[in-house]
Symmetry: C2
Subunit: 448 residues, 2 copies
């Protein structure tokens, strides 16, 4: 290909040229994010027009409840007929900020099929149906953007899709749920137990009335699926992610972690592993994880999010910021709108789904990890040796063992070296069956 | 504009289509970065072809010394005629990793004028000649990428150009020079003086034999110019940046900072300010800065870099990683190569220079800042009141004053509230002229 050919194959772009060409926007949803998107679009319209090469024109806002007052929005733009709005000829980009899965899925597919680019903030939708949405975007040759679906304004999607496109990603570990980070940070800094920390998070608006999706790790699992898909060029869906929440984390666990030099974080971990057949595979998982106090992720407090990426050439990178909230989410949505609008005006298309690596998804059992096990054992000669024998029978070696008095029993805290999840969990099962092991107080994996 | 029009104006892209279309690459320079770029291009060629939609084909590597052995490179690809290589018809993208300014400037301009997209890691070139290079890229309708020019693999250029394109940036403060951060961190953690810390940095390879560009802040000033240009859509050049290095920072300064709860970092600070005529203006500056120990930038140790961005909607974001070195720089270069190559194959163009805001550059004097002043005064009744009067005469109010014995004199440590640089520096000049002020030990600005 010569340079001349390359140029003539591209639509011609000229800095001043697109200056008058408007780009029509439809917004589906007018909640916290949607209203903030509208506010910023109005406030910075001139700047956006310069960045795009033409003005954004709001064509309509679809809502479910027409009777609700919509401050600052021209009433003529409000509609409850999302589908008709999407299908209008003068709508180029559809912004989906509704939430849920089935209804937005129908709308987003309709928009893509009608040749509109789509910007969505919907992690559950993307994690469940990325394949179908990507196929529709490819078929229609339009863009599907979802920066806001992971960690709001922290531009991790763009970073994985574009900035690290020349590198080889090894591992992504992230604090991607603000509610659980707030709760764990409160437990760590005040010694509170889980219920009290959750109550505080709810009172301060960091946790929803029904916190299940956050505290059980489902929200983080959606984000893990998206991060793993982008990082490893493989389709990883919500159901492929091993997920454990934080409801079982106790004040005693946090205290034991602190004594050993760790803090407990709910991490989404995506990494390359070797499966049982010796193939390279992808593991994506969410679980409470011991993080060394010196690790950058340990310093991520309150409801902040952070993504730690290890890549072959770049080394370690960390991205830190607000992972939720109307304004940070709107920032990410509008960054995507500007990108999609530039492509409408100047041609070109953002990097789409790329699944060429097509790695198998690893069974959770093959994942290499380390356990921190806190147990009560009968305080008599020979018990330690019997416990140690259970580990060595499974090929698990121990890094540290601490024994201390605990009433009439002994408390034994064991930190293993790396072994597979299957060997470690089987060992714990065998330990708990030993008559001299009175209780397994907690098992927490080491992570970062 | 209807969606149909939009689509027909774009070059047609189809996921499978470009699979065979090769993109020709010329690499100018075969030093630390160039050789790492070549290694990674070879190692991950298949992945890159998938991400681009066609294979990268290396057409030549231009070097200055033909006699030097070039391990792993086909000797037929080596040339010392960079200009002829650039002009070859089968070269689509030129990668400049030579360094210096005048010679690479000539080559990069020739490449852009010949319709080749350019990827450069050269911060000095971009900070000095961004306008000329951007004009040439616009005239030829090609891409000019320079992610590696600021903080290597930390994708701050892409973040400012794309991810935050829907937001309004208020302030960027960054640790963008690893050498000086290593020296300041060593002084802070060991109590070493500047000369010893510099010697250690040199011995470990963190400082060059002639460390001037780093320790005098010139390297950071180039990066500040680039960050300010991108963040505020205004042409800010190296000469517009107020620049002070770290050679005057003493062990006593570091100790005084620690006592007050700060660490000293060399920050590149870019922000919106109000100039003397009440207009919004841009300030870009580099100087040693007191950073609160709790601020995320305070925890950036050794030679790591970090960029802290404050934006209207996104809030505070931080990006952290390796800011130098062959592999991290090559990661950034190759991310840009993949982007430029995608555009060659599929059409479209990356966001280029955008200077629509065209803000004036603020005089350093109007910049609002705060001073930490450490001085020796005669120990007699009334001196403190006379010193305080100098501040109030300039309208500068004091946040904290600490007086302690110092031999026969008194040591006075004053931290001001915010005032303009002009008022603060004039006050210090007046203080130093007072007979009762024996010495101004140090003046350091507060930053983050």
């Amino acid at each position: 290909m010569t340079a001349t050919t390359a140029n003539s194959e591209r639509s011609t772009f000229n800095p001043g040229k697109g200056a008058g060409q408007p780009v029509g926007i439809a917004i589906l949803g007018h909640g916290t994010v949607g209203s903030e998107v509208l506010r910023l679009m109005g406030e910075h319209s001139e700047a956006f027009a310069h960045r795009i090469g033409g003005p954004l024109e709001l064509k309509g806002v679809a809502v479910s409840d027409l009777s609700k007052p919509r401050e600052g929005v021209d009433p003529e733009l409000i509609t409850d007929d999302a589908m008709s709005l999407i299908e209008r000829d003068d709508v180029d980009i559809v912004v989906e900020v509704i939430g849920g899965i089935e209804y937005p899925r129908k709308l987003v597919l309709a928009a893509l099929n009608a040749g509109k680019s789509v910007v969505t903030a919907n992690k559950a939708l993307v994690a469940a149906h990325a394949d179908e949405l990507a196929d529709a975007a490819d078929a229609a040759n339009v863009d599907l953007y979802f920066e806001a679906a992971v960690a709001a304004a922290i531009p991790v999607v763009g970073m994985l899709r574009r900035s690290l496109a020349g590198d080889n990603i090894q591992r992504i570990s992230g604090i991607v749920n603000g509610t659980t980070n707030f709760i764990l940070d409160a437990m760590d800094s005040t010694g509170a137990n889980y219920d009290d920390a959750l109550a505080e998070a709810t009172a301060l608006g960091y946790a929803e009335a029904d916190p299940t999706a956050d505290v059980e790790g489902h929200d983080a699992a959606s984000k893990a699926a998206i991060l793993a898909s982008l990082g490893f060029h493989t389709r990883v869906k919500f159901d492929d992610v091993h997920c454990e929440g934080i409801t079982g984390v106790t004040a005693a666990d946090i205290e034991a972690a602190r004594e050993a030099g760790y803090t407990i974080k709910l991490l989404a971990i995506c990494e390359r592993v070797t499966d049982n057949e010796g193939r390279e595979a992808v593991s994506a998982r969410v679980h409470p994880t011991l993080v060394r106090r010196e690790h950058p992720l340990a310093a991520v407090n309150e409801s902040y999010n952070a993504i730690f990426v290890e890549a072959e050439a770049a080394g370690s990178l960390m991205f830190y910021g607000n992972g939720a909230g109307g304004a940070p989410t709107a920032s990410a949505v509008l960054g995507d709108v500007v990108g999609a609008a530039r492509n409408k005006v100047h041609g070109g298309r953002a990097p789409g789904e790329n699944t060429y690596a097509n790695l198998p998804i690893a069974d959770f059992g093959v994942v290499p990890t380390r356990y921190h096990i806190d147990m009560e054992v009968v305080d008599r000669v020979g018990v330690l040796s019997e416990v140690a024998a259970k580990f060595s029978a499974r090929g698990v070696s121990l890094k540290t063992v601490r024994q201390e008095e605990s009433g009439e029993n002994a408390r034994l805290i064991v930190v293993t070296h790396t072994a597979t999840e299957a060997d470690l969990s089987a060992t714990v099962e065998e330990l708990s069956a030993m008559p001299d092991v009175k209780a397994i107080n907690s098992v927490i994996r080491l992570g970062a």
